[in-house]
């Protein structure tokens, strides 16, 4: 790991100033799990680390009348163990349970989890790839078994975060502090595909930090399910995952959000699948139709067409679980 200037921040304004004056050469250090592995792999080389774990009051899970607010420094295991999350947000709870490994969940933070960089081995290896400002995507004709089947555009990374997939399904929003002030962005608008920015997975600017994730209270009758497939039962990223959050009324799906993980450069909201099930009973035929619709535009690469069937299957399972 190369040397850097370490700047512990004690106020949010400190952190922002410190980021701002580094002009793109600083990285935020919170839990450090993703950051340190990137620094050690020498695929990122910031001159400054702005440590935000010293910021007061960003570790909380608060319930108010609108929803639950999770401080950006709250660890994944704290969220996983939270009684409200377990009861009211089973989808998020399920996603966290299958994220990484137990020790990592003790370290990784809410904010860091949704900002982690993709695991594409070309991005993380000594390859001068598009996402690092290079000229080509090595996955297109290379080893692309784990790459995107949806939303790829020149670059075929998949977004690595299980919690991001869950949070998009839960219609969460993120509070961002920056030099220009504070703003709250629907999490769906937080993530951007390669067609928007090939160098980054989200809209966070160099001088901004996430301070809070807000999840609105699910309406009565809401149910959620998250299913993930991986090659090892621990310590593995999703081959594919499917999150469904659904408001059911007398067996009819009144409202729904469907999000796919591990298959696209961003948590992939499938409006096609949502349109199929909205206003309908979740019959086997409807579920099948919705799953087909979700993957209709999939464009597998040379080694990953299995992901199409796998994603349909996971989505079917999630639908079945919310329909019971």
């Amino acid at each position: 790991m190369r040397a850097f200037e370490f700047h512990p921040a004690h106020q949010i304004s400190d952190a922002i100033r410190s980021l701002d004056e580094a002009n793109g050469n600083a990285r935020i250090c919170a839990g450090g799990t993703d950051l340190l592995s990137r620094l050690k792999d020498d695929v990122d080389n910031p001159e400054r680390l702005v440590c935000i774990r010293t910021l007061p009051d960003l570790r909380y899970i608060r319930n108010d009348k609108d929803g639950v607010r999770i401080g950006a420094l709250t660890t994944l295991s704290t969220i996983e163990e939270d009684a409200y999350v377990q009861k009211q947000l089973p989808l998020l709870h399920q996603a966290l349970q299958v994220t990484a490994a137990p020790q990592i969940r003790n370290q990784a933070t809410m904010g860091g989890s949704i900002c982690q960089r993709p695991r594409c081995w070309y991005l993380r290896g000594p390859f001068d790839c598009l996402r690092k400002g290079g000229k080509e995507c090595f996955a297109v004709y290379g080893e692309n078994k784990y790459h995107a089947i949806l939303g790829g555009h020149l670059c075929y990374i998949v977004h690595p975060s299980d919690s991001a997939t869950a949070l998009v399904a839960l219609n969460a929003s993120v509070k961002i502090h920056g030099s220009k002030g504070e703003k709250t962005v629907p999490i769906e608008k937080f993530f951007v595909g390669p067609e928007v920015n090939i160098l980054k997975e989200n809209i966070l600017e160099d001088d901004e930090i996430i301070t809070e994730v807000f999840i609105p209270h699910p309406a009565p009758g809401c149910r959620g399910a998250f299913n993930k497939s991986r090659e090892r039962q621990s310590y593995d990223f999703a081959l594919a995952s499917a999150a469904v959050q659904c408001r059911m009324s007398r067996g009819v799906c009144e409202d729904v959000r469907v999000v796919l993980g591990g298959v696209a450069p961003i948590p992939w909201r499938s409006r096609e699948a949502e349109a199929v099930v909205r206003g309908k009973k979740l019959s086997a035929a409807t579920i099948r139709e919705a799953s087909e619709a979700a993957l209709r535009n999939a464009k597998p690469l040379t080694q990953n067409d299995y992901k199409v069937d796998l994603t349909k299957l996971l989505l079917t399972k999630s639908f079945q679980q919310v329909s019971i």
Partner: protein, 788 residues
Amino acid sequence: MVDDEKNQKPTGDQEYEDTVVNIEGRRVTVRTRKVPPLPDWTETEIVGKALPRVDGIDKITGRAKYTYDIQVPYMLYAVAVRSPHPHARVKNISADKALAAPGVHGVMLPQDVASYTTAGLPLLTLNPKYTGEEIAVVAAETELQAEDAARLVKVEYEELPFVMDAELSKSDKSPVKFFPEGNFIGGGFGRHPIGKPSVYSRGDVEQGFKDSDQVFEETFTTQPQQHSCMEVHGTLAQWDDDQLTVWESTQGVYGVQEEIARVFKIPLSSIRVIGTHMGGGFGSKGGAGKQTALAVMMAKRTRRPVKMMLSRHEDYMGVYRPASTQYFKIGVKNDGRLMAIQLKTINPVGAYQSGANWGSCAAMTTEMYACPNVHTEEYAVFTNAPTPSAMRGPGNTQNAWGLEQMMDLIAYKLNLDPIEVRNRNDVKVDQVTNEPYASKGLAECYKMGAEKFSWEEKRRRRNDPAGTKKHGVGVASQIWGGGGGPPATAIVKINQDGSVNLLTGAADIGTGTRTVLSQICAEELGVPVNRIHVTNADTETTPYTLPSYGSITLASSGPAVRSAANDAKKQLFDLAAGSLGVKPDELSSKDGFIFVTRQPDKRMKFESAAAGMPERDLVGRGYRGPNPKGQALNAFGAQFCEVEVDTQTGEVRVLKFVAAHDSGRVINPHTFASQVKGGITMGTGYALSERRLIDGNTGIPVAASMLEYRPPTSLDAPIDIEVYSVDVPYKANNIGAKGVGEPPLIATAPAIANAVFNAVGVRIYSNPITPEKIMLALRDGKTAKQTA
């Protein structure tokens, strides 16, 4: 290490004879001392007991010092500069900036080490032939400074064409010519000419196929497997004037010492190698590595101790079990008897000739089952990849994937029980050497394993056709060496208070060597194990032994320890006989007492006898004697497994393993069972998840981390493993034991593949059996042939 040169050393002494030792599948003749035979143990008090490991406390307190843990004053850290290209020529190299960097004490370039090679490999090169090959080494006061400085070594490369695919390399279209005579050589040890495969033949296979009722042809492929030792490879070298001390994470301190002496032409007495605690080897740490020689040289150059530990990423760019493609053709009679086997294997072995030693996997096919007509042809093919090494059951582990699936397929086609087919082809004579097996408990393994597993009952169970979770069962067999042999020496020192020091050069690579050798020593002396203190794997304080490879450790050093203990005991009996008023040969010892055999109440304490030693201590020596002439020494086993396959996701869960092994006498049931359970878990990784991968377009490794390589976690390992020893008497050495280090891994992966076939009716020909292979095979309604 055993090599041809030394075998020819004449001794002319009547006390010596030639004997054959089977190491990692090759038979080596060595000259060895004849030793007086000892009677077989009948009733044992300590041997056979599940005693706790003698070094348990060191390991659970963090006190045990591994090579990585050793720190000495003024120590430097060395880091390699490695080729970023799979094939290149270094046009220019400059170390000026690196040398000027903070904390840097030395940089070595290829020209500095040009006259040295280790294991046939250059230490540093101007002509890298794989990504990650060492170009230069930098040493600095901290590891971080060394890493920084390594980036400052300026290297200009001319990139050259490269070849990653073995079939392409072997063809005349290869863009790289490794040797004028061709890009392949015969696989395996021995001197093979380049451009010719190694061939084994017996009988007449063409006639055999004609005489067969049915002939089956299938192709299997295996992926490279990485040892993934929890402690990476590494060395700490320290010179004190002309005395060199090396701490090495190794399976054999003497092998490392010999290699250092050979490379640097210095006397053995000047080299001390210490490897007492080490974090796993699995074949990858059989001798000195390049980093050993580089650390030794750098330490000499900088006059400072130098530590060179590989990073995990470097480890994953290093040694490994090579891949294989196995083309099988087998002819059988309708009753299941094998009539002819033809096997061609392609084994990519990296860019150097020495890799070809491990580019062979046909041996199991030549000896596992009775078959009069066998022809094997093996190609070790050069590619721009790192050089492989031994890995736990080298050759047989690859070969079992193909052979044991072929046997299963034959049973299925002939509608026979897979055990029945195997039993019908059982053989009591090694078919390659025509020597009878000293003992063979394979039939007992089938019988016991089947019974404990409820094989017949489980095979009769049917899955619910509508269900998506299908259960299946499978079996596979294994054969391996494990007879051990000389040279191995042990020293047993009895102190005046009756405490005992056992000195052995043998490594304990996690197997429990220290524990089982202590038990053997205690048993022979008739004292409790806690009276013994064992010191091991230090060339200055412990006597010679071969490295812990080829499952030879117990069967090599164990008999030497018993002989040494017996020698010491006899000397003590000479003293005790006077006190007890009998002749020495009338004495026995047990439970810390020396007593008159026919009159056990006439006795004295072991320590009382020791207190009478005029010299205040006595030393017993023991040597491993020759193996019996004309006998084949092998360990056998059969493994049964039950899996659950999710037909929708393609995920496989291994529910249960029952492993029945024939390893002769079990010295310690705990350590025996641990070896088998660990082997099966490693085999489960080989079967289901592990994959070392180099990007074919660029020649750069991509799956070079624990995360991407995927060794099994606690949630992936088999849920339950039962281990049995069939306990068939074995008399080829004085402790009655054969090795069990490698055998447990060999049968595991094919047993799982066979169970998957039994569950869902598709056969996966290429490991690992990842979910997508099963999904695709089920979707396409056919067997997944060579899905890479």
